[in-house]
Amino acid sequence: MILLSLVPPALLLLAGLGAFMSAGRPRLSHALGAAGATGASLLGFSATVVQLAHGGAEAFSVPWNTSIGASFSIGFDALSGFFLLPIYGLSAVCAIYGFGYLGGHNADPAESRRHGPSWFFFCALAASMVLVVLARNAVLFLAAWEIMSFSSWVLVTHEHEKEEARQAGITYLVATQIGTAFLLVMFLVLGAAGSGAAPAATLAGTAGASEGAVLDFSRFASAAGTAMVPVSGAVFLLSLVGFGTKAGIVPLHVWLPEAHPAAPSHVSALMSGVMIKTGIYGILRVLTFLGAPQAWWGWTLVAAGAVSGIVGVLFALAQHDIKRLLAYHSVENIGIILMGLGIGLLGMSYNAPAVAALGFAGGLLHVLNHAMFKGLLFLGAGSAARAGGTRDMDRLGGLLRVMPLTGIGFLVGAAAISGLPTLNGFVSELLIFLGAFRGLSLSEVPLAVAAAAAIGALALISGLAAACFTKAFGISFLGEPRTTQAREAREQGPFLVIPILLLAAGCALIGFLGPYAVSAISPLVAQMAGIPAAADFLAPAREGLRSVAVAGAAVAALTGALTLLRVLLQRGRPVSKAGTWDCGYVKPDARMQYTSSSFAQPLTGMFGWLLRTVRTGKSVDGLFPAEARFESETPDVFSRRLFRPVFRGAGAVLSRLAWLQHGRLQLYVLYLAAALLVLLVWRLA
């Protein structure tokens, strides 16, 4: 049964290989890759649903490379299943979109010949993500993890003729590799603690084949609470840094705003929607090895989450590249998820089961929801950028009239990510809020303080997010088109529209079926929070979500009624069309509209000390001003002020060593003599 869950990834790989082999015949490989990816993902999705419904955890293990502590161990439990759903679901949707997206510009054959490799790595990415959540051995996990990073790197640099894409690739690779280094150490520490670090056993390589290899997750889990206690704090921090790099926790997020815009949209959707979530999965999985959480873990998560959320949304506000904006919103949403999980951990450590249940439920559900609306938004942004010929919102505008369906989809996504009722974003944020409020009303002051911080941060974030997405949608989809290309934009064909509508429907659906979503994930919550009766603690929230759904229905009904009423009232009365009220100005022009930058300026100005927006251009002056230009952009302050200097410095220091290799033979020989002398003095004297 469990082995069957390897079938979809295998199929994915087969499809990818097929596409790769037939790269010479673009149409064939294109169709093969897309159809294969979609089919396999759908199969996997349905299989996962069945498995989850059927419930229970399974595991399977065969010895494999035991000398390096590996074993081929895979397993399925509520956690894996929960993450498999968005992976498969979004992969399928993105594959459909990609079929239309890549298919669009296969004008010259050299381009279309590269679709084969592109599909291969797309499938590899999906398959490796599946393997990441199925793996039950550190080596297997790391292998899958690295393949995931590598294939996504190839996809990010799909258009590697562009310097921008190459740079993004380098940033991404280095960041992810440093993160992986932390993970290596973390798993090895776990292994050492788990196996009691018996050197003899490890030397023999086949250490106790009976209870599995040294780096098996089962080993770690069995040592939870006992041997793990001394190292648990270190492991938690290591995992936070290692997985946080992938998830994009501030300040480790620097690669996201580079990589996501550079990638083709269906890839950015997949990466931002689910790939960064594997980081969250990793943190959760590691938590299951560590036994009872300590209070400061929760604190750390809440703090990290609050910072990531606020910084993320602020930087998003300052962007005018729509995909960069979305990338920063991924950072923000990861922050929200972390806050939820942090509240959950705090609830556990102060044994307040209700808080724990609500926190975990909110955080986990937000993982699913973010996958949906972020995928939706990236796909919508992709279509808009394709149609409008640019990712710069200030050169778009008025797209809603020419691409109505995409527009509706994007609007739904925007409302959902802003946490507006009654869409899926509101549901998960409501749960986190509830958890925080519950935490307040307990008598544990530290918990209450953390909860208060979370409430404040969440409120601020949702306000700013609303501002940011009114900007994103309003500037690029509403008003007058700012360029002729934007004016002549058209819908990009069914394959680019259907996925968007599917995801939009999903967002609304979860919004209205909130109660059922909560009861669906309550087993997982029970597993994570370690409270069997999680469902009972979530009961009031379910009730609340029911009324939320009613309220949503009421709003919809009332809106319908009022619209109808308006139609009735307007019957027989003059309803005319005219130009927008221009306050008496004679020649209004599309370029006079508010731009994204000007829309966000008040807020970005307020937080200028953090954003450090770079403004270039000269101001208008004189009675008859000459032409003036003004540009502003907000590069990531952390990569500019923190990482680049550090790396530059380290590089400079290290490359000082070049003077060793000065090319003078005599001194080379002197090195030998010196080395020998030093050794003799050090070791013998």
Binding site: W64, N65, S67, I68, G69, A70, V139, L142, A143, E146, I147, F150, T157, H160, E161, R166, G169, I170, L173, V174, Q177, I178, A181, L184, V185, L188, V189, G191, A192, A197, P199, T202, L203, G205, F647, A650, G651, L654, S655, R656, L657, A658, L660, Q661, L665, Y668, V669, Y671, L672, A674, A675, L676, L679, L680, R683, L684
Partner: protein
């Protein structure tokens, strides 16, 4: 049988020197490498067929491993060598970098030295006597010098001269060390310098002489292995030698020196100096990794960068041995992986050089467009050498790191990871700059013969990464037992 392994290439070398016809000579080269590989395979299947000649010549587990690498590598390289000779056999060529004209070493001498190289390296792996071991290593220097000087111009000459002098001084140290080792033998004691003799009577050795000898041998053979700060000859030789030779130097020669160090270490640890030895080797390892990292970052020449990466990996091997325990196994396994990957990388570098006509990284752009197959292998090789799964180096580096973690010294873990990260950052930018981007050189045809070797070597390391065959695993563990606790 062992004698056959050694003498076959030696005789072939003389033959190749005499033969006039290029085709016959190339055929001879190929066939000898094939036969040698076949014999070694047989040795792996059934070691009992290769009985020790004496206490001086025998194949033990360690030797078997390294002999396997050497022979396999030579087999792969000989194919590329033939394709290389086909390409290069022109008489007078002009230098791509400075434009002057130069000749190549006569093909006869080149092939002869190649075969001689194989023979001497086989001798290194099979010798059980420290004198003989020293002679063999000296021999490798002897025959490899003309190989480095294949392109007869001032740069290669300079590289050869540096190689000769630095390595010879190192070798001189090693000789002195060997004498010290002899001096450590109690008078009237074991009247021989065989490995077994020394190990069995290790307890009776004079520790002072042994320590001094160990250090001298470490520095001496370390020079040949390319441990910093004795590595200075390595980048010059590797960058100026033809790529097939660089592949052999990096993949086989450095390993032979490593084997020599392991031999002397096994004696030391048998004499209870295990900790003393490991500590010293560990320091060399870290220093090498650091120096290599420093010179890889911002390195303008991709062949030199590969050379420094070899220095780094020799450092990794040393660190593995220095840590001991699982580290020994990991070091041996990493030696295997490094040889496979680095050799294929050098061969690919040769292909790129022949297309772009420059060793400068800044001159190579968009290889993925101009030489797709080579470039794809190039990318894969880089990730392999940087220790990315699913290639073998991942497993070995992971295990070395694990040994570090289990040794409980956090400094070690931090420094090791930091250096690896630094090297990664340095190499990634090179990889991206060379492979990606819009190709300036238009798409060119890639000769199949020049792709066979790197492809198969990389495939092997891929296989090792996905699955470590049982026989190899067992052999490695047997070898670890020989290295000693």
């Amino acid at each position: 049988m062992i004698l056959t392994l050694i003498l076959l290439p030696a005789c072939a070398a003389f033959a190749a020197w005499l033969i006039r016809s290029n085709t016959i000579r190339r055929g001879l080269l190929l066939s000898v490498s094939v036969i040698h590989a076949a014999l070694v395979t047989w040795l792996w299947v059934d070691p009992s067929r290769f009985p020790p000649i004496s206490a001086w010549l025998a194949v033990d587990a360690l030797g078997q491993v390294f002999l396997g690498i050497t022979s396999l590598l030579f087999l792969a390289v000989s194919f590329s060598a033939v394709s290389f000779l086909r390409r290069e056999s022109g008489t007078t060529r002009s230098d791509p970098e400075e434009g002057f004209l130069f000749d190549n070493t006569p093909e006869a001498l080149f092939s002869a030295c190649l075969l001689g190289f194989l023979s001497t390296m086989t001798l290194v792996t099979t010798s059980q006597h420290f004198g003989l071991l020293w002679v063999a290593i000296e021999g490798t220097t002897l025959v490899s010098a003309p190989l480095i000087h294949y392109h007869r111009h001032h740069r290669s000459l300079e590289a050869t001269w540096k190689y000769l002098l630095v390595c010879s001084v190192g070798i001189a140290f090693a000789l002195l060390g060997t004498y010290f080792l002899a001096a450590a033998v109690p008078a009237g004691g074991i009247n021989s310098m065989t490995l077994r003799g020394l190990v069995e009577n290790a307890s009776r050795l004079d520790t002072r002489w042994l320590k001094a000898g160990f250090l001298l041998l470490l520095v001496g053979y370390g020079t040949k292995m390319g441990l910093a700060p004795m590595h200075t000859w390595l980048p010059d030789a590797h960058s100026e030698a033809p790529s097939v030779v660089s592949a052999l130097l990096s993949g086989a020669l450095l390993n032979c020196a490593f084997l020599a160090i392991l031999r002397i270490f096994s004696v030391a640890s048998a004499a209870g100096l295990a900790h003393f030895g490991r500590e010293t080797i560990l320091v060399f390892g870290l220093v090498s990794m650091g120096v290599a990292a420093g010179l890889i970052i911002g390195q303008p020449d991709y062949k030199r960068m590969l050379a420094y990466s070899s220095v780094e990996h020799m450092g990794i091997l040393a660190v593995g041995i220095g840590l001991g325990g699982l580290g020994d196994w990991a070091a041996l396994f990493h030696a295997v992986n490094h040889s496979l990957i680095k050799a294929s990388l050098f061969l690919l570098a040769g292909n790129i050089l022949s297309v772009y006509g420059s060793k400068k990284i800044s001159d190579v752009r968009g290889a993925l467009r101009s030489v797709p197959v080579t470039a794809v292998l190039w990318v894969a090789g880089f990730f392999a050498i940087m220790g990315a799964p699913p290639f073998g180096a991942f497993s070995s580096e992971l295990s070395i790191l694990r040994a570090a973690v289990e040794s409980g010294s956090w400094i070690m873990v931090v420094v090791f990871s930091l250096l690896l990260a630094a090297v990664f950052a340095g190499m990634v930018s090179v990889l991206v700059r060379t492979a990606q981007g819009a190709g300036e050189v238009r798409k060119t045809k890639e000769p199949t013969l020049s792709l066979v070797a790197p492809l198969s070597l990389l495939a092997l390391s891929l296989i090792l990464g996905i699955f470590i065959p049982g026989f190899l695993d067992r052999a490695l563990w047997r070898a670890v037992m020989l290295i000693g606790a």
